[in-house]
Amino acid sequence: MNLKSSQTGHYLVFSLRLEKPVVHESLYLLLHDDEGWKIHSEAEALKVLRREAFSEASVKLPPISALEVFDLLREHVRGLQNEVNLLFAKELSQLNQYYKELHQEIASRKQALYYHTYYFDREQQLILEEKKAGQEMQEQGELLKIRFSPQIELKLLMFGELIQGL
């Protein structure tokens, strides 16, 4: 979203930091003009914040709720979510492939037992091994989820009024 060549109004500057699995940090500028609140990305935020003059006196901001800010950020966060999803899918698929192959191996060994004389003992061992693999798979899934559980930190850095246009 591009800024208009001339811009005045109230503003909020946020920093968003996402942790797990990769760290992502970004600044967002929320500007309020006649059409309401609009969000601007980091590059635009930096441009404006460096160039503009601000009123530092206490200003009365047009009301904005947390939910509205969340809605404005949602689109930007979706891009991050897609990145996370890709990484997650890659790791999950590697895990699934591993456990699928492990399952096949155990199944194969079970089938081959028919030709052994110590069938029952061995079968019990393999059944246990299969159970253990299943349990381990669940554990690894849980660990993967923890590794990818995102932590976000949103900070309101600054707010005020732009007192001159671009």
Partner: protein
Amino acid sequence: MSFVITTQETRASNQAEFNLSEHFLENGIMQISSSLRQHFSFLRDHEEVVFQILGKYEVLGSYRKGSAFVLSLELRTLCLSLKLQPGQKIWLKRSTHSHRIFDVSFPYDNATVDAVMRATVRAREIPQLELEPPAILSLGAVTDWMRDWDLTKREIGSSIELNQWLDEYVRQKEQKKQGLIGLEDVSGIDYYPHQVEAVRKAIFDCHGRVLLADEVGLGKTIEAGLIIHEYMRRREVSKILIVTPASLTRQWQSELKLKFDLDFQLALEPKTLEDESRVIVSLDTVKLRRYQGYFAKNTYDLVIVDEAHKLKNRKTLNYQFVNRISSKFLLLLTATPIQNELLELYNLVHLLAPGALGTLQQFRKRHVHPVNRRQPIQPDELKKMIEPHMIRNTRRSTSLNLPPRRVIMQEVVFAQAERQLYEKVESLIHDFYFMLSSERQGMNQLTMMLFQKLMTSSPQALLESVSGILNRSDLGFEIRDSLMQMETFAQEVIMPAKLTVVLELLEQELKGERVLIFTQFRRTQEVIAEALRKNGVLVHLFYGEMSSKQKEVVVNQFRDQVSVLVSTDAGSEGQNLQFARYMINYDLPWNPMKVEQRIGRVHRLGQKHEVFILNLFVKDTIEEHIVHLLQRKIRLFERIVGELEMILGYMGNELADVDSLDRKIMEIVAKYREHKDQLQHIDQLGEEFVKASSQYASSIMAQDKLFEGLD
């Protein structure tokens, strides 16, 4: 009407194409034509065939060799449910893992097949994790945020501050993109380019989950410290767990404090794990049941496992503990990822990235040589597979070779008074050692061991200890009598033989040099210092009870002035004293690890000159045997610092715990009066080290061959 399923193999995709027959759709009998027979030729009569659908379900069939068909009613049901007609095709692909497993594809999209499969066929589901990626802006996150929402609280007060904040923000962000940001704050150490590169690779290429497998002595601990520091600087970690062998916990703690100013707590009880965010715990401790509960319900940002070759066996509790611990980043540190077989490497990589090297059976088949289990079948392919998970620096790749180390054994001869005292101590030990308790109360075997060690350190130290014990009221008459005699003999020694030798050395050969003298005992340290001062030598003392600040001052003074630093073994842990090149071991610890740690203070990266190590030992005493053990059997003085820990890993018996070596030596001393008998039995102990060293050497050769080119 056709009864045969015709096949047409597409060689490129290794798929077999089946034209469905009416016969199959009626009876579930797949007639195997001659062209398809090769796919089934490995099967035995009546052997079970597994058809996998979408990689999620399994249906079974049975192969009849004589009649050349496979009977599978479930597959037939599925085809009918999918409304497949005679003449339509399905595709079979034999699994690479088993000759009797086939992936089946249908001329429909996966969702349709899945829906029909679920609704109509009784199939076994292949275990699979179906997990949704955790949402970034989950309801919980939004709720938390809304709760904290306050438009009156801003982080930055004025536009000037905002500009400063922005400058710093942009600078750091650029730096983070380009490389490491933490190095500028590290002032306590001199790091090397290979270490910086290892940190960079660990963070950017391996995403914090990596096997750090540098050769011994290239500074893996420093690399780990730099990684911790970098992640902390990036605010990516706060909860950190370091798991080390018990013998190294304190060393890690002091090195992290000294070099990175990082405080880590030793987890001596489970509560520490709950209270502290940066903890060091020993491998033996984490296995204890009372610790397990904590790890099961907590997660870490970073876990570091030192001497990770101890996790080589996946059946051990150690391995299972690390496999279950939840951590975003995981560093495994070892110089010997392969000790006995390649599977050990598999196990380590599996901890970092489960499944990255396939299943154990596949790995064994594809990579492990059937006879020599250390040798890979396809080294290039294996190297490619492990490269994303491993960093290895070698002396050759880093061109970091330490200057030579010269070791001098200086024999000292007791004068008559000291000899009498020594004999009295020996006789006390022979008479009473086995009668005393090994418990830690009263006059016990440990006290005897202490006497033996003190005797070769200094008579004054022995005297102090004996006088202290004589104050006890629970001593038997015979022991009291012997101790009183020892006290008298000790008082008669005016100038200990070792001290005379040291004074001569400092006045002649080492005059004007910076000299580091190690002793095990505080009293001996005082005696040496006193004598040196009397002779006009500038002396500094270093011992455990000093505060960190005092220690820092002393080390700085020793660096800045030509002087002598007399240190207890507290100075052998974590301190960098490579600006000195002359070291005297006034007495020798029986534990070779401690001797190695002492050497490591001066003979380490950063040392630019030849190092001289002078070991004093008294003729015809236990020290002579200890020197023999260290020099001839363990070959400690020729080894690179750090190698001994590796070698101990190969010792299967209780000697692997070097603390038990003290007890073994003491038992020999107490049991055999003749020195040649003592020597013979200490020799036998030494053979264990010889065997372990040779195993260590062959594993190093094997892994060097495999990892060649990875550095």
